[in-house]
């Protein structure tokens, strides 16, 4: 860690912190205006109410232009007059209040932490899934991801590679860090997600599904060999990771490729990074439409003669489900899905170990990187 000391750098820091302040100010302003409306209603003897975009299946539509799922125009009214909604109304009020404090004081929280914090305010949640759901409500009402309110998921994925960042969280403002200093990688938490991306020598981002392979890639110095930033998504990529991927793509102009297991779930992990999930249809900052899935494809199974295991019933059902998804109607997505269904077999990333532990990094990866250029 080194301190930025030159004058030029200091100006830049100021600019950056100004930008972060701006963002914080906007969030606070928005929360305040929601609060003021409810305050006025109560003060005028009116039952406060607000409208919330409907997240029901019928209101989730695929937007071809945005290349992601978005919410339609249906909205539901949530009113404190309705005794059935009174509880969730109050929960959401509290969450806004709590998010306001977090944002104001620049403190971070997690989904689980939110659930437990509620008890201190005599707010009842049946279980964490109820409080998680209210958090999604707040996202839907404000059209902002929870990370903007300093609420992060529990699970952490990690990043490794030559990338300089500069923290914006309180106490670390202006401090910078190079993300290739620690071979275990850096966990993508609140401080990293909110950090400024300063510069990088990398030319590509490789998102990989599995922690084991991530470690192997670091050991094999894939970052250096292929001038890349390696990200472990830990299965389905958490939102903070997707946000980071998006920023690396947009702010650092880096192409993103995704490497997953050779099965239908892997294919969908890549798809979510590319165009989001139906669950997050109310948010629009989480997709990398130009991300490319490079493997393991179903066709790779045959091409590389990978050892396989048979697909389970749930794998096959998942294939049929995805065949109905508008994003799987053409190109590689449709083609690979069809081959999976034909083979009824799947292969793990580790399958390449059959041909040597470094086979995947020595042979497979270079071929795929080459191929990605033409995708």
């Amino acid at each position: 860690m080194k301190l930025a000391t030159t004058k030029k750098e200091q100006t830049r820091i100021k600019e950056r912190s100004k930008k972060a302040d701006e963002k914080q100010k906007n969030i606070l302003e928005m929360l305040k205006s929601h609060g003021a409306k409810i305050y006025d209603d109560l003060d005028n003897g009116q039952f406060p109410k607000f409208s919330i975009p409907s997240r029901s299946v019928s209101n989730i539509v695929y937007d071809k232009k945005l290349r992601q799922y978005i919410l339609g125009n249906n909205a539901a009214l949530r009113s404190s007059r309705n005794s059935a909604q009174l509880r969730s109304f109050t929960q959401l009020m509290w969450l806004a209040f709590f998010a306001n404090r977090l944002t104001h004081e620049k403190k971070s929280s997690t989904l689980r932490d939110v659930y437990y914090s509620s008890q201190a305010f005599a707010i009842e949640f049946e279980d964490q899934s109820e409080s998680d759901n209210i958090i999604v409500d707040l996202e839907a009402v404000t059209s902002k991801p929870r990370e903007d309110f300093h609420i992060f998921p529990e699970e952490r994925s990690s990043i490794f590679g030559d990338l300089n960042i500069e923290y914006t969280i309180p106490g670390y403002e202006g401090k910078t860090m190079n993300l290739s200093n620690h071979p275990d990688g850096y966990s993508i938490g609140p401080s990293l997600t909110t950090a400024e991306l300063v510069d990088t020598s990398a030319e590509i981002v490789i998102a990989i599904e599995k922690g084991g392979l991530f470690t192997r890639f670091v050991e094999e110095q894939i970052d250096k060999k292929f001038k890349s930033i390696i990200i472990n998504t830990g299965g389905q990529a958490p939102r903070s990771t997707r946000t980071l991927l998006k920023r690396l793509h947009e702010e650092m102009r880096l192409p993103v490729i995704v490497l997953t297991d050779g099965d239908v779930y892997g294919e969908h992990i890549a798809m979510v990074i590319k165009s989001g999930s139906a669950n997050a249809a109310h948010l629009r900052e989480l997709t990398v439409p130009d991300a490319k899935w490079v493997g393991v494809w179903a066709t790779d199974i045959e091409k590389y003669k990978l050892p396989t295991i048979p697909m389970t019933e749930s794998d096959i059902k998942r294939c049929y489900d995805l065949q109905k998804d508008p994003r799987y109607q053409d190109g590689i997505w449709k083609k690979e899905l069809d081959v999976f269904l034909r083979l009824k077999r799947k292969a793990e990333l580790e399958a390449f170990s059959k041909y040597g532990l470094t086979n995947i990094t020595d042979k497979y990866l270079p071929q795929k990187l080459e191929l990605a250029k033409s995708l």
């Binding site: 006025d40 005794s83 009020m93």
Partner: protein, 622 residues
């Protein structure tokens, strides 16, 4: 054959009941004590009901030796303020089996006063103590009897008889019997309690062996109208009953002895005079309407014999052959049998025919049954393939069966007369339920009279919810002819109907606090067993119970939905009171304000709204 018959005759009714006392509910000390209480209390209430007296009944049970463990002898005393029993009837009434005053066809708790005698019999068997009866039927003199039963002879043995002056009418019966109060106590207390619910015009007290006093004062001052005694309905009749009715309707040819001749003279006003035959006939014609049947028969015979009193004294009627119109008699003077022809055109011939052969079918039907007029009687005769003028006395056994069958099958008889029934009435029933359970909701119904097998019946039902009623309902209180039925509820028709009901449909859920009172009034309750504890599922009764319960359930459902609304409003108000302050707190900080918004107005409005619903609810309930 004849020796067997003699053997049967030697078993007196007392002996029969002694050996079959299980049937009457005297199977063990527990059940016996309970049954004895029932029999005496019911007799006391019946006696008062019949005379329109508001009953005061005092029940006392005392252990002879309190320290002894159960079962042990108890003295059971039931005292009432009823009409009492005349001294001359007391020994027979309490000292023989099958002696009673309740033989008429009307609704009463007991049928023949049989149970009380059974209790006395049981007491005597187990403790060898006499029954003590104290009775005053005039409110001045009280007769006190100590009576034992001679079981073999079915005769009373008066041990002691004294009299004393009193100021009140009434009867007190006291027996000593072996019982088990520690086991029977609950049922007896329930019995007294439930009896007072269905007899709200009675005041009932109970002093139990442990020194506890249970008092159930009357809370209805008017006694419901007493039932009237009526003739039977043709649908409710059998061959044996018809045979008995024919015997009742027939009249034996009187023995013409000195006493009879004296009576005829006296009735004609001819005690002193000796008139000629024609003069006697003239006199009889004039006085005909005032004459008794006996006398009329004698006159009719005289008209054919053409004899005056003196000659009449010297003969004896041997036979009257109506079909051949011949009259046979023994002449003491000539010492020989003689016969004369009877003129079938004579009005006296008809008189004799009635006497000897019984009434014509149509007369029999119209006079001795309810709901049959002359037109119906003729229509029935055609249906049953009898001549309308057919004499009842001439019916063969086979014809009697045919008649009985036809009476059951003929459908044009009107429904039984229900004036012989004494339902409690909706108002007293509702009052009783309200007093006993202090419920939030009560509904009662008295169904119109209906009939099964020729026996009229009326169903009365009540339903109540909430208040002091325990949860875990429906609790069913069963009554038949104002008697609570406490045992054997499992197989009872009322329970069947209640259990068949899907209470969820009536918005009654969980373990609801509610009760159902059902009262079946009938001249004959179709009990399943002799113990009189459960009512059989006669289709007609089941149907009426169902209709009654449906009506009440609908009312309950209406109440429940209002109650539900009020509960909801209350819950809602509570929700607002809980959540609005929190919303206010959070939005104050969120909006960056110091002072909380004035949300109190909203809470007030809510309270007002929920109050409104509650008020409506109360109005609906009243």
């Amino acid at each position: 054959m004849s020796s067997i018959k003699e053997k049967f005759n030697q078993i007196s009714p007392s002996e029969f009941f002694y050996s079959n006392r299980d049937l009457a509910g005297f199977s063990n000390p527990t059940r016996s004590l309970y049954t004895a209480v029932r029999e005496f209390v019911e007799n006391a209430l019946d006696a008062c009901d019949q005379k329109g007296i508001l009953p005061d009944v005092h029940l006392t049970i005392k252990a002879v030796e309190p320290e002894k463990p159960d079962p042990k002898p108890y003295i059971l005393t039931v005292k009432d303020n009823g009409p009492g029993i005349d001294a001359e009837h007391i020994p027979l009434a309490f000292g023989t089996v099958l002696y009673g005053s309740k033989f008429g066809l009307k609704q009463a708790r007991g049928m023949f006063g049989l149970g009380a005698t059974m209790a006395i019999l049981y007491g005597q068997i187990t403790t060898n103590k006499p029954v003590i009866v104290k009775s005053s039927s005039d409110g001045a003199i009280q007769n006190q009897f100590e009576i034992l039963l001679d079981i073999q002879k079915n005769k009373p043995v008066i041990v002691k008889h004294t009299t004393k002056e009193v100021s009140k009418k009434g009867l007190s019966v006291s027996i000593c019997l072996e019982g088990d109060y520690s086991k029977a106590g609950n049922k007896i207390r329930d019995y007294v309690y439930e009896t007072s619910l269905i007899t709200p015009y009675a005041s009932i007290t109970f002093d139990d062996p442990k020194g506890q006093k249970f008092s159930h004062p009357r809370f209805v001052k008017e006694i419901p109208p007493p039932p009237t005694i009526i003739r039977p309905h043709p649908h409710g009749i059998d061959v044996e009953r018809i045979r008995r009715m024919i015997v009742e309707s027939q009249f034996e040819i009187p023995t013409i002895d000195d006493a009879m001749i004296e009576k005829v003279r006296k009735d004609l006003g001819l005690s002193a005079k000796n008139l000629s035959f024609t003069a006697i006939m003239d006199k009889a014609k004039k006085k005909w309407k005032t004459l008794s049947r006996q006398v009329r028969v004698v006159i009719a015979l005289m008209s054919f014999l053409k004899m005056d009193f003196e000659k009449l004294n010297k003969i004896k009627i041997e036979d009257i052959d109506m079909p051949n119109k011949k009259l046979f008699y023994w002449d003491f003077g000539d010492s020989q049998s003689k016969s004369i022809d009877m003129d079938s055109e004579s009005q006296y011939y008809k008189q004799l025919t009635n006497t000897v052969q019984g009434e014509p079918l149509t007369t029999f039907l119209t006079k001795r049954f309810q709901r049959i007029g002359p037109t119906t009687a003729v229509k029935f005769a055609e249906f049953a393939k009898f001549k309308p003028e057919r004499r009842m006395g001439t019916l063969s056994n086979q014809e009697l069966v045919q008649l009985s069958d036809s009476l059951q099958k003929f459908e044009d008889f009107m429904a039984p007369d229900s004036s012989c029934l004494a339902p409690l009435g909706e108002e007293p029933l509702e009052k009783g339920i309200k007093k006993f359970f202090n419920p939030d909701f009560t509904a009662v119904i008295q169904r119109p009279a209906s009939a099964y097998s020729g026996f009229p019946f009326i169903i009365e039902m009540g339903i109540a919810y909430g208040g002091d009623i325990k949860s875990g309902g429906p609790h069913v209180y069963r009554y038949a002819n104002r008697i609570p039925l406490l045992y054997d509820e499992g197989s009872d028709v009322v329970l069947k109907v209640v259990n068949d009901t899907d209470w969820g449909r009536y918005k009654v859920k969980g373990e609801p606090p509610f009760i159902i009172v059902s009262h079946i009034c009938s001249t004959r309750i179709p009990y399943k067993t002799a113990g009189k504890e459960n009512v059989a599922d006669r289709q007609e009764i089941e149907r009426e119970l169902r209709l009654g319960l449906q009506f009440l359930s609908r009312k309950l459902a209406a109440y429940m939905s209002k109650r539900g609304q009020a509960d909801m409003a209350k819950k809602r108000a509570n929700l607002y009171a809980k959540y609005l302050p929190q919303i206010a707190e959070f939005c104050t900080e969120l909006a960056g304000k110091k002072k909380e918004p004035n949300y109190k107005k909203l809470l007030e409005e809510n309270t007002i709204e929920s109050k409104k619903v509650e008020e409506e609810n109360e109005i609906g309930n009243n």
